[in-house]
């Protein structure tokens, strides 16, 4: 079952800007899907059309098999949206925002209130339930937007850069929360500029640029396309002589740091054996750049060069 099916979706704005040029995209039920792209690529336009905030120029959208144009109420009832920008009524109290949102989905207040309480506890907002939303911190507002999107238990949750400007501790707790609801069956579509986030959370990915889908595959296949990786090695003790590793490019950054470029067919074991033979001990190792980031940049640069 496809949670989302987009066919030939096109959007031309009034100023003649073609934001989407006939894109096709499928997201399977239960997936954790990343929709990535540079600023202005068409991500937010795509999400805006799926959530009925933007009118399409052409194309079809089905949500769990229901055509959004023909049965908008049924299709919309499956959706939850965490938008990029805060969009609360700043004067409304936190709990009222959730109960009101549930009401818009036809959930009466006697059922909405316990659900709101449950989400407020889960997202650490219980103490703020009677606070006007404008008085919340940035991180709390982000969590409130997630609670609001989940109050009607949507089958498909769309998150448009949910962790923008959020500190790392909160970001990780939000990741854990999202992984948990995905494990419980909610299909998730995520847009983010933190590619580490997409790599860690998502199983499938589409990259959009200049209104076209330039890549649509599973995360593993995409990452396997990397023909080389650059690692930064921290050494236990300073180097006393130059290092020589045949077939492996190595750059000495300083006395205790090396940068090593490994091709796809070269093994880390070979690297460590060679270093051991030369008396070099490695205390820690990390990728120089996020793997997905390298692929993303390569794909986007290629599209922009072709256009």
């Amino acid at each position: 079952m496809k949670a989302l099916s987009i066919q030939h979706l096109t959007k031309v704005y009034n100023n003649s800007l073609k934001a989407l040029d006939g894109i096709n995209l499928d997201v399977e039920q239960g997936d954790f899907f990343a929709l990535l792209g540079p600023n202005g690529a068409g991500k937010s336009t795509t999400i805006g059309i799926i959530t009925s905030l933007i009118t399409k120029t052409a194309g079809d959208i089905k949500i769990f098999g229901v055509d959004l144009s023909i049965h908008p109420e049924q299709a919309k009832s499956y959706l939850g949206l965490v938008p990029q920008e805060f969009n609360f009524n700043g004067f409304e109290q936190v709990k009222d925002i959730l109960v009101t949102q549930a009401g818009y989905y036809g959930i009466p207040s006697h059922k909405a209130k316990p659900r709101a309480d449950e989400l407020l506890h889960q997202l650490g907002l219980w103490d703020k339930r009677f606070t006007p939303s404008r008085a919340l911190s940035g991180g709390m507002k982000r969590r409130l937007m997630i609670a609001r999107a989940l109050v009607h238990s949507p089958k498909l949750l769309i998150l448009d850069e949910p962790t923008a400007g959020v500190d790392i501790e909160l970001r990780r707790s939000m990741w854990a929360f999202l992984e948990n609801i995905n494990a419980q069956g909610t299909t998730i579509i995520l847009t983010t500029h933190y590619l580490e986030e997409a790599e860690n959370l998502c199983r499938n990915i589409a990259i959009i640029d200049q209104g076209h889908i330039v890549e649509n595959t599973d995360m593993k296949s995409l990452l396997n396309r990397l023909d080389k990786e650059v690692f930064v090695l921290d050494l236990k003790s300073p180097l006393t002589k130059p290092i020589n590793l045949c077939d492996i490019n190595i750059t000495q950054i300083d006395n205790t740091t090396l940068e090593v470029e490994l091709k796809k067919d070269q093994l880390l074991n070979t690297l460590f054996e060679s270093l051991s033979l030369q008396g070099v001990e490695v205390s820690s190792m990390k990728n120089k750049a996020n793997r997905l980031e390298e692929l993303f940049l390569a794909l986007v640069e290629k599209t922009q060069a072709n256009s």
Binding site: L53, E73, N87, Y105, I107, R148
Partner: protein, 259 residues
Amino acid sequence: MNIQKQHHWVAFHTLLTKETRRFLRIWPQTLLPPAITMTLYFVIFGNLIGSRIGQMSGFDYMEYIAPGIIMMAVINNSYANVASSLYSAKFQNHIEEMLIAPIPNYLILAGYVGGGVARGLLVGLIVTIVSLFFTTLPIQHLLITITMIVLSAVMFALGGFINALYAKSFDEIAIIPTFILTPLTYLGGIFYSIDLLPEFWQQASLFNPILYMVNAFRYGMLGVSDIPINIAFIIILSCITGLTGFSLYLLSKGTGIRH
């Protein structure tokens, strides 16, 4: 009631409750000013100036203007409530909460108009109570009185809705009330009978829909009117039908709310 109707009812009730809660929460801005303004009207126009005017259409001047002043308060407040609430929702983007939800357009319209009517009628009740400190209000035709006040509130709530859809700034919310609504209200026979006007201006006044509302409402209370009541109802119901159709058309096109 089937499930979809139940959902629609809950959604409408939610929106109406939210709209009502909004104007009650900010009562010093929404309910108190009309009470003060209309008290001043009664003191200045009714008491100080009215005592020198004498009678109009067989009633004390204060008694004659009271229905029009109540109607003016209802019109202004039902219009202002929807215009400011919907535009604020657009401005702060929280209108998106509603647009992504499975609410049909006619319920969005009904919820906002319902909120505007609720404020208009509550302000109307407050001004009526204020007026009772200055004059008596015999109600000759209760049904006409109630129907006319509700229909007037509905009509101007619809006007406020359309204004808010088109508005791109808070200034554009103020332009219509200042330059159109207020002149039409003052020229709508609140303070005088159109019999006092020269023939040309009597005819010109007949193009002002507020004239019909004020006179029909005055007829309900005092039993006197410058125009036939059935014509008043036909005109107001036609206006409501036209404005409702136009509002739904704008919503279906996404004018002012969807890109």
